[in-house]
Symmetry: C2
Subunit: 470 residues, 2 copies
């Protein structure tokens, strides 16, 4: 019988046992146990008092909180590997063009495939920045927890801000209605995502924050990502400035850092997750901390797009809450939180030329409880603790690459060498959603050809685009 | 019947077919074929002329040259995850102490386990820097191709250089005898590894190069790795300088870069592979190019140990041949060439803040033909070409993380998202050595408990050491 069936058919509590249990808030427990009941964690420890709970032993595995992926664009999954090895500006422009070629159903298939990949990698919570609204459809069926931040763009005088706001309100109302209809209020919520300083005007930033605050929504903003963005905001030069000029957009350089500029618009007056924050100094870090702005650190995406190395150590030192994000798989190219953890450690240490700059424990924290805090969900998830939701993953530790590390150092095994493919099971709210290649909620056999078909169409369009451009 | 059996029982040539064939020297071939016979590649192409060759279709997979791992320390495999999150200097000192606790048989078990992990990740050639000589024993049984560089240390006045050289000659003679006895001259050879500028004196560097030259051996030298090494060589300060003072070692700072210093000793007068080269500028890069010194780039190790980011773009621009190395799994912690490829791309791009700094193709080249050139083996391996040895790997491309990339962009799939765990088969000299979890030459079921037992002993010793230190 599968673990999913055993959990489903168990009456009352289920005892889960593994060689290593990682509560995150306290050191790893060897031969530990976690008891779950009614979707919640009721006990965590070693040699727990025997209960009548049915008992499942995962052997040489790690039982840990599911990963919290604080930044994704599930909708772009179908574009993975499509626009490779082009400059950031070309990349984002072509992406914008190709986006218009897909139907809503296409976006849903793409986003759902992305959600499936994340489940298979132990990701139980996704904070998604979505344009079409399809990410919500994906998460409604995948069973994951998440915040769906609806993206807003508006840098020009047209359309007027009130129109943008009205459209956003309609979209958000529609998303909330869907969440209610699916009785998914406990696991899904909506947010607002003013896209970035180069796509959202200062007044729009301010209005969106006021709206988010009035409704209790969180925000997500890309800020301080690329050198091109810095050039625009700090000096009024570079690729974005040229695009502004070509489109007739007025732009007076504020002459400050992207973080300071976005803050000055009032954007950070609502609870905000700042994504990337590669180009930021100590003063920016302190500003973010003072505004309670959390950071989504996406080290692989920052590398692939040539953005730079985020100052993670300075952010943590200033007291900023940092979570880890995969970003879109169109710019990564996989949703593997293990790789994000070690990329965070390796790039921070090389950047500081100091092996103490970031530890494996720091990275594991950022990928779980740090991410939960960054999303305001730490009362519900992010660590194994009595009363929290039973969002868990089981990672097999018997791979050659984890041997003999897993005998005595589970944190090093997980952070430095484990892979998404080592994940055996993923639970959300105590339900098994993924178990070694099979999904309880998703029909992967149907999704695969759908995604292939959409991709073939996109590939043809992109080849045509490229020919026109050449 | 397994592929290994089908290949073994085939009379004459075998035709291998896959969705993507990657010759490396030319673009990927869709629905390509490779014909192998008598351990060599005889044909590569699309829709080859039908032959009587028995035919194996790998479906949605990549058929490519096996990876060339230009830098490893197989012997340290058992130390994976043991000495984590300590400064470079403490790390290398503790490693040196623990090394004395293991028997030769322990080292062989450790190295063989490492060779098994590499085979499972598609690595067909290993350039190993070895201290005890156990790496040779490992490669003799694993069936892989390789160069075993025997490490030499000697920074003090004692023992005298002639004694060091005499001991080295005995060790090398013993290794060559073993290779002959196993009739492995075609796939294994020996080399000399003067360890590093902080462990080898200038006169010893010179003598070793003269010896290597006289015998036609290649050399491997760690150079320009850590900030501590730079401090010693350029300024006579830092942790290594303090160690020298404590041990009464005379040291007059040459006041030049580590690359220049090592070059000035005459070390580069024999064919040399310089390992790491993190701290090097344009002038150093040009010096390396002028001396025909190749570089082993180990981006993950450089990150984990806080060394820094190697100037890969500058090295390539100067005309230096660059290969990729995993380094020891004690400082990495897995032998995954896919991760090394993307780490090379991501760190180069972030370092230069330019997405054009390094492409996926560049990384794939470095991991195969670049590595082969760096080891002087490019006439035999590194690409799929008529007459080269049939050292191949088959990478499954059906994982969610490779979908839909593999439909149209196999290079992006392999470099940006594939994992060592996607490798289905590894061939050396036309023989299958690894096939989805099973080895034709190695007894992994016997190796595992041996490694666990050694590790348990080492762990106890290290805990005792740590207590003594505290």
């Amino acid at each position: 019988m599968s673990v999913a069936d055993r959990v489903r058919h168990s009456e009352g509590a289920v005892r889960l046992r593994a060689k290593w249990v990682l509560p995150i808030e306290s050191p790893p427990i060897e031969n530990g146990e976690v008891v779950i009941e009614d979707g919640r964690i009721t006990q965590v420890g070693k040699q727990l008092t025997p209960t009548n709970a049915s008992h499942i032993d995962f052997g040489l595995s790690a039982l840990m909180p599911g990963f919290v992926n604080v930044h994704a664009h599930l909708e772009y999954t179908v574009m993975r590997g499509l626009l490779e090895d082009v400059a950031f500006f070309t990349w984002i422009r072509t992406l914008t063009t190709l986006k218009t070629r897909l139907s809503f159903d296409d976006w849903v298939a793409s986003a759902t495939f992305g959600a499936a990949e994340m489940l298979a990698g132990g990701i139980t919570t996704v904070a998604d920045a979505c344009d079409a609204g399809a990410s919500l459809s994906a998460l409604l069926v995948s069973g994951q927890r998440g915040i769906v931040f609806r993206e807003v763009f508006g840098i020009d005088r047209e359309p007027p801000i009130e129109n943008i706001l009205a459209a956003l309100k309609r979209k958000i109302a529609d998303m909330e209605e869907q969440i209610e209809r699916h009785h998914a209020e406990e696991r899904l919520s909506v947010g607002v995502s003013p896209h970035a300083p180069y796509t959202v005007s200062a007044p729009l930033f301010g209005e969106l924050a006021a709206y988010a605050n009035s409704k209790g929504y969180r925000q997500c903003v890309h800020v301080g990502e690329s050198p091109a963005e810095v050039a625009l905001i700090e000096r009024g030069t570079g690729a974005f400035a040229e695009m502004y000029a070509a489109r007739g957009i007025d732009w007076t350089t504020p002459g400050v850092s992207p973080v300071r500029y976005v803050s000055d618009t009032g954007a950070f007056d609502a609870p905000t997750l700042a994504v990337h924050v590669v180009h930021a100094d100590k003063t920016d870090a302190e500003l973010l901390a003072s505004k309670n702005v959390a950071v989504a650190h996406c080290p692989k995406s920052n590398g692939k797009l040539g953005a730079g190395f985020a100052p993670v150590k300075a952010l943590l030192k200033a007291g900023v809450t940092v979570g880890l994000g995969t970003d879109s798989v169109a710019s990564n190219n996989s949703a593997d939180m293990f790789e994000e953890m070690r990329s965070a450690v390796f790039t921070a240490r090389a950047r500081e030329q100091n092996p103490d700059a970031l530890t494996a424990r720091d990275a594991l924290y950022m990928a779980t409880l740090g991410g939960a805090k960054a999303l305001g969900l730490d009362a519900q998830i992010g660590s194994l603790r009595h009363g929290k939701r039973a969002d868990l993953c089981v990672v097999r530790l018997d791979g050659l690459h984890l041997t003999p590390t897993a005998d005595d150092n589970p944190v090093a095994a997980l952070v430095y060498a484990a892979r998404a493919s080592d994940v055996a099971l993923t639970f959300v709210d105590g339900r098994v959603l993924y178990e070694t290649g099979t999904y309880t909620m998703l029909d992967i056999a149907r999704l695969r050809p759908a995604v292939a078909q959409i991709r073939a169409r996109l590939f043809r369009e992109w080849q045509k685009e490229a020919k026109r451009g050449a």
